[in-house]
């Protein structure tokens, strides 16, 4: 089933007039999107104290805070791991509260809280309620921008800052605590007296009670020529510097002066290393897999293609090592640097290799086999990774059955992709079945299945058609034969007795001497909504060039375009046109505009979603713009982009195309 609820990364959310008095009107706007938020580090910048007339000031500030983070080390190398959003909130009053002077703002931030002039505290209940209302995205980095030019801010779960030019530097230090759990490296006798020990003795990430080179948790970073204890003052020289975690003695830090010790400093090596490990932990290096099922049964003469989509760093993707039962079967031509060929400095510069592996059931034999695809963020930024956090792995368990795939092989396709039926009328669509095998397929029938491969809910009927005229011929629900290499076309109906929304059904062909045709969302499926009431019913098709049915996307970040045409054969209504990727995650941005049907030129601004009002029988045309942020292999039965016409949560129409990047 299409994930109709996971649209946050494609959409701006607008909520107004909310029931909860504590939740101000707000709009979540994506400003840097590289993929599904479930697979990304999600950074949200939240407005507080900006009235309706001051929103542009917040938008400008949000851009500044986005660039501040993603433009600095170590974030800049991992920009494709991040999604960034700004949460525009409309406050009743401008500014920020101070003790004794409450300003009616969205998050009710207060400067001077806890008796500290420069501290800005957010009301975390209000902030959390806002985020919960805005989306279901799990935000990993949360920054609240208070509308004041006075210097101030704070850390914690919600970092806070002001519009003061210097305030942002504090935020970067605080992320070192809240995102990667680094310790402070500065000394403060008062605090040391209160808590002389480390939190997790003897070692924290960037503080240790050990004093020797051998016992240092960052020993691999200390050059042999560096004296221990280290007393130099040069930048970027890892060693054992006494003083840190508030205490001037008895604790050692890894570099002389990092951002965790003083503002306006680099993070330095050991702290950066933890950032890289955490980036890969939060946002693992594999964006998508195929097959989606991780347990499969295949025949002993089958060949099954496995695929992963690795993440990219600065435009280059990781290499993939494939193994069957632990044995290397496919590896990057050039072994990753730092492993067997330590030549590259930073892991940048090797393209995605071996993203696909074809498992031959006959070669491996009857029984159970484990297939793994392993990728690693090979970077000179990481020398210690005992937990393997920079490594991501996908595992499939494949059982090879002691039987051969029949010689007759079936595939099926359905058009149009989506229907929306009023008064529980039968939903009709066309299906085509092809026998790509070497013998005639015999005693064949069609069946309707759900996503799980079980019999689907609606009543089902089908009739063969003349492929040239689409006119039905022959009996209802026939049993038929299909010659080798031949195709047959059908019209089918699915009739619901009760309300359905977004029910994805699959037309599956099966013959006495074949396996059933596979199910593929957008290939041989139809997305059906049905109700007693009237609704729009939009039949749409997509056109691509130069290859029909396939969107060929540039791999350099430029957009590709797909033409859409739609007719509403239901009742008049207003729908939202939006993009969807089905059950997979791909590094894509999808936008739409309505077009002039003669010239193809956009007549509306390009947007993540379009509100479209259809009259009955009205035809409209659109362009769908797709931008890839990473490589997408050609897996048409799985990697597709859907254009969905949606009313509320129910689909009213839709179509899809396969997609791939040109490399």
């Amino acid at each position: 089933m299409l994930n109709l609820f996971k649209t946050a990364f494609l959409s701006a959310f607008v909520f107004a007039g909310l029931a909860s008095a504590q939740v101000a009107p707000h709009t979540l706007v994506p400003i840097h999107i590289t993929g599904d938020p479930d697979t990304r580090i999600n950074y949200v910048i939240i407005a507080d104290g900006f009235t309706a007339g001051e929103q542009q000031a917040f938008r400008d500030a949000a851009t500044t805070f986005k660039d501040l983070l993603l433009g600095s080390s170590p974030y800049v190398r991992y920009a494709d791991y991040f999604n960034v959003y700004r949460l525009e909130t409309i406050s009743n009053e401008s500014g920020v509260s101070t003790p004794g002077n409450v300003v009616d703002t969205a998050v009710r931030s207060e400067q001077g809280c806890f008796g500290i002039d420069r501290l800005i505290c957010a009301n975390d209940q209000r902030a959390s309620a806002l985020l919960a209302a805005a989306s279901d995205i799990n935000f990993h980095i949360r920054l609240i921008v208070a509308n004041t030019q006075t210097y101030g801010g704070g850390g914690g779960f919600y970092a806070t800052t002001s519009l003061h030019a210097a305030a942002g530097q504090v935020f970067q230090h605080e992320i070192g605590h809240s995102y990667v759990s680094l310790d402070d490296e500065y000394e403060d006798a008062g605090i040391c007296a209160q808590q002389p020990g480390l939190y997790g003795p003897p070692n924290e990430l960037n503080a240790t009670a050990q004093s020797t080179r051998a016992a240092s948790p960052w020993a691999t970073w200390i050059d042999q020529g560096t004296a221990v204890p280290t007393t130099g003052t040069a930048d970027a020289v890892p060693g054992m510097y006494e003083g840190g975690h508030y205490c001037s003695t008895g604790v050692w830090r890894p570099t002389f002066n990092s951002l965790m010790r003083t503002l306006n400093r680099p993070m330095e090596q050991i702290n950066t290393e933890e950032f890289v490990r955490q980036f890969n932990t939060t946002s693992p290096g594999i964006d998508a897999i195929s097959p989606g099922a991780t347990t499969l049964t295949v025949t002993n003469n089958s060949r099954t293609r496995f695929q992963v989509v690795p993440k990219t760093i600065t435009g280059q993707a990781f290499g993939v090592t494939w193994r069957v039962n632990g044995q290397v079967v496919l590896a990057p031509a050039t072994p990753p640097p730092g492993l067997s060929s330590p030549t590259a400095a930073d892991g940048i510069g090797f393209a995605a290799e071996n993203t696909r592996y074809v498992f031959d059931g006959g070669q491996w034999g009857v029984g159970q086999h484990t297939i793994t695809a392993t990728i690693r963020d090979v970077s000179a930024l990481v020398r210690n990774d005992p937990g393997g956090r920079t490594t991501t792995e996908q595992r499939w368990t494949v059982t090879v059955e002691n039987r051969a795939t029949p010689d007759a092989r079936l595939v099926a396709a359905v058009l149009p992709y989506a229907r929306s039926m009023s008064a529980f009328a039968p939903a009709t669509a066309f299906a085509t079945v092809i026998n790509s095998g070497s013998v005639e397929a015999q005693t064949c029938t069609l069946a309707l299945q759900n996503l799980a491969g079980q019999a689907a809910t609606p009543a089902f009927g089908y009739q063969q058609t003349n492929a040239a005229t689409n006119q039905p011929t022959g009996p209802q629900n026939p049993t038929f034969n299909l010659g080798a290499g031949a195709a047959a076309s059908f019209v089918f109906s699915a009739t619901y007795a009760s309300t359905a929304a977004n029910d994805e059904i699959f037309v599956v062909a099966d013959c006495a001497n074949s396996d059933p045709s596979a199910r593929g969302a957008g290939v041989n499926s139809a997305l059906i909504s049905a109700a007693a009431t009237n609704s729009p019913d939009i039949v749409s098709v997509a056109a691509t060039a130069p290859t029909p049915g396939i969107a060929d996307l540039p791999s350099d970040g430029r957009r590709g375009a797909v033409a859409l045409s739609a007719i509403n054969i239901g009742s008049a209504g207003t729908v939202v046109l939006r993009g969807d990727l089905g059950p997979v995650s791909l590094p894509l941005e999808i936008e739409f505009c309505e077009t002039n049907s003669t010239t193809g030129a956009c007549t509306t601004p390009r947007a993540l979603e379009l509100d479209v009002t259809f009259a009955q029988n009205e035809v409209k045309t659109f362009a769908m713009f797709i931008r890839a942020h990473g490589p997408i292999r050609f897996v048409p039965e799985r990697f597709r982009v859907f254009a969905i016409f949606q009313e509320g949560q129910a689909s009213r129409g839709g179509t899809s195309v396969a997609l791939r990047t040109n490399e």
């Binding site: 975390d124 850390g155 914690g156 779960f157 809240s178 690693r376 210690n384 990774d385």
Partner: protein, 220 residues
């Protein structure tokens, strides 16, 4: 520790320090001598502890004990032609949403994860400690997640130096909102501890909720 022993595998396994026994195979001509092989195997563990149980350079084989995650590291390196884990403690995980005070307090969100226990590091009080138990009451996982009520203040002078004494942290005394946490899929009951009142020195924390898994509203 480097130990070259043949035939003591059973006696050595299991040990408490290591999560897995791993069998490695490499090209017999890959390493000139045992020291070169050991050095490479240790380096490939990226700082993780490795114990060589057996090594035969001429046959291109080694058996090692290593920590959790080492298998992935070795599998990412094609120099190791075969990597077989003879035991593993890798845990299938799920993402859960936890509501401390609700009828359905602890529900699976449907997202599969590889659960790895995490220790508490960083600023005391910053994180909630979450312990998972299975239906038999056995502890099956422990992890730490950010406490949304946590506030921290550090003051800085214009030259970027920390201002002495200006370092405070607080856990706001407000109800805990629902939060996400990765736990073993077998988790049936969890206990949530916060660090309120222990912002200076670490402690086991204060139990603020012990909740059971609910099934209503789960989405696969």
């Amino acid at each position: 520790m480097r130990v070259l022993i043949i035939g003591l595998l059973v006696a050595l396994w299991p040990t408490g320090a290591f999560a897995q026994i791993i069998e490695l195979n490499f090209d017999p001509g890959r390493f000139a001598d045992p020291d070169a092989a050991i050095s490479y195997i240790e380096a490939a563990a990226m700082g993780g502890e490795v114990e060589i149980v057996s090594l035969n350079v001429s046959q291109g084989s080694a058996v090692i004990e290593a920590g959790e995650g080492a298998g992935r590291l070795y599998r990412s390196d094609p120099v190791f032609l075969i990597v077989r884990e003879q035991s593993t403690r890798l845990t299938e995980g799920r993402r859960f949403v936890v509501t401390v005070d609700a009828a359905i307090p602890f529900a699976q969100t449907g997202q599969a994860v590889n659960f790895r226990s995490t220790g508490r590091t960083g600023w005391s009080g910053e994180r909630l400690r979450v312990i998972a138990y299975d239906t038999a009451g056995q502890m099956v996982g422990e992890t730490f997640v950010p406490d949304p009520r946590f506030v921290r203040f550090e003051a800085w002078a214009e030259d970027g130096q920390h201002i002495a004494g200006a370092n405070r942290s607080f856990v706001q005394d407000v109800p805990l909102r629902p939060f996400h946490v990765d736990l073993p899929a077998s988790a049936a009951m969890i206990a949530v501890f916060d660090q309120a009142g222990s912002n200076i020195t670490p402690s086991e924390g204060r139990l603020i909720g012990r909740v059971s898994r609910g099934f209503i509203g789960e989405a696969e």
